[in-house]
C-alpha cells in the first residue's frame, strides 16, 4: 500500500468534528496599531525556505519585534510545508502565519474548501506601513489581490511577482545579429535562420510539460483576449476548441513540424534543458522569471540572459502587443484558527512594506509585488528584463486560474501538450482531449467550482 497510504492514514487520527468557536484575542486599536494586535501575544511564523531563502521573512519578524518588544516570535524556515502542517490544520492548531509554497505545499483549493483560512480584507483595508494615507491593497501590483481571491473573499496574498516569457542570451543574439521577434510568424522565420547556424532554435523542459503550456496559453490569451481566459477558467463548453486556443496550439505545433526543437528535449528535466540552453545548444527556452536565480551557478560569464514577453500570435490580437502572463507566487496566509490572528495580519502588513520587499529583491533575485519597491536598485540582466517586460505590459497582465482551481484539468492539459510536442497528436486532437477533461471536471459534483 506504500508510504503514501500510511502517511495519509496517519493524519486521519483526528478526523472528528472540532468546535467552531472564534479563536484569538484582540488588543486595542490605535493609529500605530491599526489591527489591534495584543502586544504581548507570541507569534508563530512558518516560512517555506526554498529558492528565495527566508531572510526577508526574518526581516519582517524583526520589524514586528521592534514594534512589540513583549511579543516572542517563533520563526521556522522549512521545506515540505504540507507534510509538516497538514496534521496541525486537521487538528485546528495551526501557526499564525504560513508561507504555503514550494514542492509539497498544501493544496490551496482544498484549504479554501475546508474553510481553514482567514479573510484578509481587514489587512488590505488597513493603512500601509510606508504611507498611512494609502491602504495596503493600493500598494500592491495589479492582480495580486485577485490572485488570492476565492469566491469574493481574499484568503492568500502572494509576495513575489512572476512573469512568464521566452528567454534568450542577449550576447548570443548580438553576435549573430538576431533580434527578438514581435509576432509568431517572425519567430518561425527566425527559427529557420537560427537552425542554419547549427544551434537548435528551441529547447524545453519536456519532462514537465507544463513549461510549454505557458507560452501556449499566452498566445491563446493574446489572440482571444480576457474573454477567452475567463471562458477557460469558467469551464465553458467548447472553450478549449475555440479558434484562438486552436491557433495557439497550431503555433506551438509549428515548432515541432519545422524541426525547431532540440532533439531529445521531450525527455529532459528542467535542469537538463536549462543547462543545455545555458551552454548555447538552443536559442530559446520558455520559463518563468525565476530562471536567472535558478541558473546562477551554471550561467557562463557574459551570457546576459533576458526574458521577453511571448510574441503576438497575429497582427490582430485582442490583447496589446507586450501583454504578458503574470501571476504572483509565494502564498502567505493566516489560518482561520490561528491563536494570534491579528498578530498574523500585522506581520503581513510589515512584510508587504517597501523595506522588506526591497531586501527580498536583493537577496532572492526576484520581483516583490510591492509597487515601487525596486526603484533605484541595480538589477541583474535577467531581473531588469523582467521588470522592463512588466513595465511595457502595463495593465495587460493576464493570468489563468484553472491550474489552482482544478488540478485534474491541469494534468490533462500537461499530458496533451507533451503529446503535441512530440507530434503524437495534432492540435485538433489535443484540443479535443483537454475539452473532454474540462467537461468531466465541470460535470463532477464533488469538485468545488469557482467563477471569475
Amino acid at each position: 500500500m506504500g508510504v503514501a497510504g500510511v502517511a495519509g492514514a496517519a493524519l486521519a487520527g483526528c478526523v472528528t468534528g472540532g468546535d467552531d468557536g472564534d479563536t484569538g484575542t484582540k488588543g486595542d486599536k490605535s493609529a500605530t496599531n491599526p489591527l489591534g494586535v495584543p502586544v504581548d501575544a507570541p507569534l508563530e511564523v512558518v516560512i517555506f525556505k526554498g529558492g528565495y531563502g527566508d531572510d526577508y521573512a526574518k526581516q519582517a519578524g524583526s520589524l514586528y519585534t521592534q514594534k512589540y518588544p513583549k511579543a516572542a516570535i517563533d520563526h521556522k524556515g522549512i521545506q515540505r510545508v504540507g507534510d509538516v502542517l497538514q496534521p496541525r490544520f486537521v487538528a485546528d492548531t495551526p501557526p499564525d502565519v504560513v508561507d504555503n509554497s514550494g514542492a509539497g505545499r498544501l493544496d490551496l483549493a482544498t484549504l479554501v474548501a475546508s474553510k481553514k483560512l482567514k479573510d484578509l480584507g481587514e489587512l488590505l483595508d488597513s493603512p500601509s506601513v510606508d504611507d498611512p494615507s494609502k491602504k495596503v491593497r493600493d500598494t500592491l501590483l495589479p492582480g495580486v489581490v485577485e490572485d488570492g481571491t476565492f469566491d469574493g473573499s481574499v484568503q492568500v496574498l502572494n509576495f513575489s511577482s512572476v512573469l512568464w516569457g521566452v528567454w534568450y542570451s542577449k550576447s548570443l543574439f548580438a553576435k549573430n545579429g538576431w533580434t527578438f521577434p514581435t509576432t509568431w510568424e517572425e519567430m518561425l522565420t527566425l527559427g529557420d535562420t537560427i537552425k542554419k547556424t547549427g544551434v537548435a532554435p528551441w529547447t524545453w523542459q519536456g519532462k514537465y510539460p507544463e513549461y510549454m503550456n505557458d507560452p501556449l496559453q499566452s498566445l491563446a490569451a493574446k489572440a482571444g483576449g480576457m474573454d477567452l481566459v475567463k471562458a477557460i477558467d469558467n469551464l465553458e463548453p467548447g472553450a478549449w476548441q475555440s479558434a484562438p486556443m486552436l491557433a495557439a496550439a497550431e503555433a506551438i505545433h509549428q515548432l515541432v513540424v519545422r524541426g525547431h526543437i532540440m532533439t531529445g528535449s521531450e525527455a529532459l528535466s528542467h535542469t537538463e534543458a536549462q543547462n543545455a540552453w545555458c551552454k548555447g545548444q538552443a536559442a530559446f527556452i520558455p520559463c518563468g522569471s525565476w530562471l536567472e536565480g535558478e541558473q546562477q551557478a551554471v550561467t557562463p560569464a557574459g551570457f546576459d540572459m533576458v526574458m521577453a514577453a511571448v510574441p503576438a500570435l497575429t497582427g490582430s490580437d485582442k490583447l496589446a502587443n507586450g501583454a504578458v502572463q503574470g501571476a504572483s507566487s509565494e502564498s502567505f496566509l493566516v489560518p482561520a484558527k490561528a491563536k494570534n490572528p491579528q498578530g498574523g495580519l500585522e506581520y503581513l502588513r510589515l512584510l508587504f512594506s517597501k523595506q522588506v520587499a526591497r531586501g527580498f529583491a536583493e537577496s532572492a533575485k526576484a520581483l516583490p509585488v510591492v509597487i515601487g519597491a525596486t526603484d533605484g536598485l541595480t538589477l541583474s540582466s535577467g531581473l531588469s528584463s523582467v521588470a522592463a517586460a512588466a513595465k511595457a505590459a502595463g495593465p495587460n497582465v493576464f493570468t489563468y486560474r484553472f491550474r489552482t482551481w482544478y488540478a485534474p484539468l491541469s494534468k490533462a492539459f500537461d499530458d496533451a501538450t507533451g503529446e503535441l510536442l512530440t507530434n503524437r497528436v495534432n492540435p485538433a486532437q489535443w484540443a479535443e482531449r483537454i475539452q473532454k477533461a474540462a467537461d468531466s471536471v465541470a460535470k463532477d459534483s464533488s469538485i468545488v467550482k469557482h467563477k471569475r
Binding site: 500500500m1 506504500g2 503514501a4 497510504g5 500510511v6 495519509g8 492514514a9 496517519a10 493524519l11 486521519a12 487520527g13 483526528c14 478526523v15 472528528t16 468534528g17 472540532g18 504540507g82 497538514q86 490544520f89 486537521v90 487538528a91 485546528d92 509539497g104 498544501l106 493544496d107 483549493a109 482544498t110 484549504l111 474548501a113 475546508s114 481553514k116 519536456g206 519532462k207 514537465y208 510539460p209 532540440m262 532533439t263 531529445g264 521531450e266 525527455a267 529532459l268 528535466s269 537538463e272 543545455a276 488540478a407 485534474p408 494534468k411 500537461d414 499530458d415 507533451g418 503529446e419 512530440t422 503524437r424 464533488s446
Partner: protein, 297 residues
C-alpha cells in the same frame, strides 16, 4: 526462574509491539475507515459516502491504466528477475574457483545497497537522450539509428522502468539462490553426474527442486514489488507517470489523488484495493507454486 524469564520476554516485546500497533497497524485500520468517506486531508470533517469511492475506481481511466501497467510488471518483472538470478546463481555455483564466485556475489549485491531514489536518478542519467550512457553506447558500437528518448516514448518508457527494477533486484536473488544451492549435498550432485546427467538435466531435476522454497519466496516478494514501482516512476518518468500516462502505477495514482487533489478518501480506497490485490496475489502464488516437498534424508 521460569516466571522471571517470561516476564522479561514480555517486557522486551511489549514496547516494540505497542509502537508497531500505534504507528503501523492503526493507520492501516484508519485507512480502511477513510476509504468509505470523502475526507479531503485538511478538513476536520469526514462524511461517510458508502461504497462511492470504490465505484469510482472502476471508471477512473488513470487507475485502470495503472492497473494494466502493474499487471504487465507483475508478468514480466518476477519472471525475468528469477530467470536471470537462477542462471547467474547456477553459473556461480558450478565454478571451481570459490573465491571468484564470492567476489561476483558481492558485486551482484551492490544495487541492493543503494536506495531506490538513487537508483532511479542514476538510471535516469543512463536513459537521458543527448548525453546518456545508453545512447552513447549505441553510437559507440555503430548503431546511432537505435538512439531513443527512452523515458519519453509511450511504448518504451514502461519497459525502461522495468529494466531498472530488474537490474536493482537480480543481485539479491542471486545471493539468495546461491546460498540455497550451496546447501545441496555434493554427493547428490555427484551421483547424478555418475549416472550421466548433463548440466541442464542436473539443474532441472535436482538443483531447482531443492531450491524451490527460495524461488517461491522470491516470487511473492517480486510480485509485491511489481505492484508498487511508485518511487521509480515518480522520479524517472515524464510527468511523472507519463508520457501520456504510459507509466502510471497504482501507487502514483494514490499519491496524486491524496497529495495533489486532496482526495484522501478516494486515495484510501485505492490503498484498500491495492491491499486486497496484494493479499490475493500472495495466496494465489503460494497455491499455484506448491509442489511435492523434496525431503533430503
Amino acid at each position: 526462574m521460569r516466571h522471571g524469564r517470561y516476564r522479561f520476554l514480555a517486557g522486551a516485546m511489549i514496547p516494540p509491539l505497542l509502537l508497531y500497533g500505534v504507528f503501523v497497524l492503526s493507520p492501516y485500520a484508519q485507512a480502511f475507515y477513510l476509504a468509505f468517506t470523502d475526507w479531503n486531508g485538511l478538513s476536520g470533517q469526514a462524511n461517510l459516502v458508502g461504497l462511492e469511492n470504490f465505484g469510482k475506481l472502476w471508471s477512473d481511466p488513470l487507475f485502470l491504466a495503472a492497473l494494466r501497467h502493474n499487471g504487465l510488471m507483475l508478468l514480466v518483472v518476477p519472471l525475468v528477475t528469477i530467470g536471470l538470478a537462477l542462471f547467474f546463481a547456477a553459473m556461480l555455483g558450478t565454478g571451481e574457483k570459490r573465491r571468484a564466485a564470492s567476489a561476483y556475489r558481492i558485486v551482484y549485491f551492490f544495487p541492493q545497497l543503494l536506495s531506490v531514489a538513487i537508483i532511479a536518478v542514476l538510471w535516469q542519467f543512463v536513459y537521458t537522450p543527448n548525453s546518456g550512457l545508453l545512447n552513447g553506447l549505441l553510437s559507440g558500437i555503430g548503431l546511432p539509428g537505435l538512439r531513443r528518448s527512452w523515458l519519453a516514448e509511450p511504448d518504451l518508457a514502461i519497459w525502461a522502468v522495468m529494466a531498472t527494477m530488474i537490474w536493482a533486484a537480480v543481485g539479491f536473488y542471486v545471493v539468495l539462490f546461491s546460498a540455497a544451492m550451496e546447501s545441496i549435498p555434493a554427493d547428490v550432485l555427484e551421483a547424478a553426474l555418475l549416472d550421466g546427467a548433463g548440466r541442464m538435466t542436473t539443474f532441472r531435476r535436482i538443483t531447482l527442486p531443492l531450491v524451490w522454497d527460495s524461488v517461491q519466496v522470491a516470487w511473492i516478494y517480486l510480485g509485491v514489488a511489481a505492484l508498487d514501482g511508485f518511487a521509480l516512476v515518480q522520479i524517472m518518468t515524464v510527468g511523472p507517470g507519463g508520457p501520456d500516462n504510459s507509466t502510471e502505477v497504482m501507487g502514483l495514482s494514490l499519491y496524486r489523488n491524496a497529495f495533489t487533489y486532496g482526495k484522501f478518501g478516494y486515495a484510501s480506497a485505492m490503498g484498500v484495493a491495492l491491499f486486497f490485490l496484494t493479499l490475493t496475489l500472495a495466496v494465489l502464488l503460494l497455491r499455484v507454486s506448491r509442489r511435492e516437498r523434496v525431503e533430503l534424508s
